[in-house]
Each structure stands twice: as structure tokens, then as C-alpha cells.
Symmetry: C2
Subunit: 135 residues, 2 copies
DNA sequence: AATAAAAGATTACATCAGTAATCCAAATGA
DNA sequence: TCATTTGGATTACTGATGTAATCTTTTATT
């Protein structure tokens, strides 16, 4: 597994913009964040620079400006972060977290149905038959 | 809901020790972390100090030493942190996270049964019955 | 051409976090 | 009693993070 650079919370906001669409110029990113993050343009540029240093993003030069794009996938990130989060808060035990959510969060009945369906799938597979990723 | 002080990752390790049993002396905490965190005793003491400053823990004096105990519950913490984590990574949408876990993690059939049971409860309650404001 | 505007590079500065070491006062041991 | 150990308080130092401003170089304006 490749090493994912650490991305701070502020940097994450920039990544989200680039994950949602890329490549984009710095100004486009700045605009996209406007009204939502209350950051000065220079701040966003700093974050972009840091993401470059971390090799989380890269750019293609087009004339005088750069077009930035992500080098890491959001999925990989979410996966990794979730893993370490669960480990940290729940000691790696996923069930307590699931129980927590199922109990505390409001889920629509559609969502509940879908979750049930997924659980059914798992039941069919059986708990000992481990290893396959079906998605 | 009361304001929970921010607890860093290193501090969290100390909190876990105190949540697992309290009150404890600094030395007991240090010992409990030994072999697991590879921290010098002074480091642990620093973390304890910082947790004191943050009012995450407190102590009773007993002679020359202090007995430390948590001021915040682990549950409150897990709750709050989970909330902000999900918000940050999943845009506040819990379902994708649940789906992610149900799919990726290996759950025993017992666990699956329990989760199903919980989902059934929710179904009975109905999806429109909302009652809590969380933001 | 001289000047202003704009993009990216560099520098800034405070706070937090990780990781301790040093200082001081009380208790303990010689 | 004097030196040593030990608990807690204070101080230290590095790197990351939030949040920019300034500098430099190009390009667009007048």
C-alpha cells in the first residue's frame, strides 16, 4: 500500500474541491471555497503549496498559470482515515461504532432497508468465509 | 451540551488509561503506558499536565502525590469526535460510512444478528419520528 | 516604456502537539 | 543533618497547522 501524505483539516477542504472536479486553477479553487470557508486567497494558495510539497496534488503548467489535480484518491483517504479513526476511538472494534450509529443517527427507512439488505448479503456469505471484496 | 476540551492523540492514550480505571497516580499511568507507548515518564507527566490545564482531568491530593481522574466521559468524547469525523470525511452523511463498514469489515454472524435487531427496532419506530437536534 | 495587476514563491508568526529536560521543594536514606 | 531521590511545575525545542503578507517575475494597461 502506498504511503498517503498526511492532510490537515484545512488542506482537506482544498482536496475536496479538487476531488470534485479537476484540474482547476488556484483561482478556481479559491472561488469554490469562497463564502464557505472565509479564507483569504493567499491562505488557499498556501494550502495548495503545502499539498504540492506533500505530493498530495500536482499541476500542469498552462501558460502563466497552473492547473492542479489530486495525486491521491479520496477513497483511499477516506479508507485510511476511517481505519485509524476507528482504531483510535473504538480500539479497532467496528461493531460498537456501528451500534452507536444505528442507535443515534436518524436514518430514513430507505437507508435502513439498504443496510438490512447488505447485512443479508453478509449473512449468506457466512462469517467464516472471509476475504472476498465484492465491491 | 458542555464544551469538551480538545484532546490530542497522545493525550488520548492517557485518557484511556484513566477511563479504564481511576483515580490513579502519575506513576501508575506511566506504568500502564509502558511497553505500549515507549514514552519517557516525563513525557507522560507533560501530557497529564496538559490534560489538567484543559480541565479534561483533575486530581485529589493524597499526601505528596496526586490521584488523577477524568472530568469528561469517554462516551461523550467518542460521540463528539465521531460526529465531527463523519462530518469531515463523509460530509455528515452516516450512511456511506455504515455501508463502507458493513461491506469492508468482517463481522461475526452474532454481530450481524445484533445489528439487524437494532435496525428492526428502528423500523418499528418509523423514520419520521425525529426528536433530536444535533446542530 | 512605465506602471499596475496577478500568479506563484518565499517568508512570517502564533499556537498546538510531540517529546522531553531542568528546576524546586518535600520526603527519604545514609 | 546532608545528600539523594522523587513528584510535580516550569521551561524547551522541533515540526505541523492556521492564517496570512511580502517578494519576484510576468503580463496586461495606459
Amino acid at each position: 500500500m502506498k504511503e498517503l501524505p498526511k492532510i490537515s483539516e484545512a488542506e482537506w477542504e482544498v482536496m475536496k474541491i479538487l476531488w470534485s472536479r479537476s484540474p482547476q486553477t488556484a483561482n478556481e479553487v479559491i472561488e469554490a471555497l469562497e463564502g464557505q470557508m472565509d479564507w483569504k486567497p493567499k491562505t488557499v494558495r498556501t494550502l495548495i503549496s503545502r499539498l504540492l510539497q506533500k505530493n498530495a496534488i500536482a499541476f500542469q503548467e498552462t501558460g502563466r498559470t497552473y492547473l492542479y489535480y489530486p495525486l491521491v484518491s479520496q477513497d483511499d483517504y477516506v479508507q485510511t482515515e476511517t481505519q485509524s479513526f476507528v482504531k483510535r476511538l473504538y480500539g479497532g472494534a467496528v461493531k460498537p461504532l456501528l451500534v452507536h450509529f444505528l442507535r443515534e443517527q436518524k436514518l430514513s427507512s430507505d437507508e435502513i432497508s439498504e443496510l438490512k439488505r447488505i447485512l443479508d448479503e453478509k449473512t449468506e456469505e457466512g462469517p467464516d468465509r472471509d476475504g472476498r471484496k465484492d465491491r
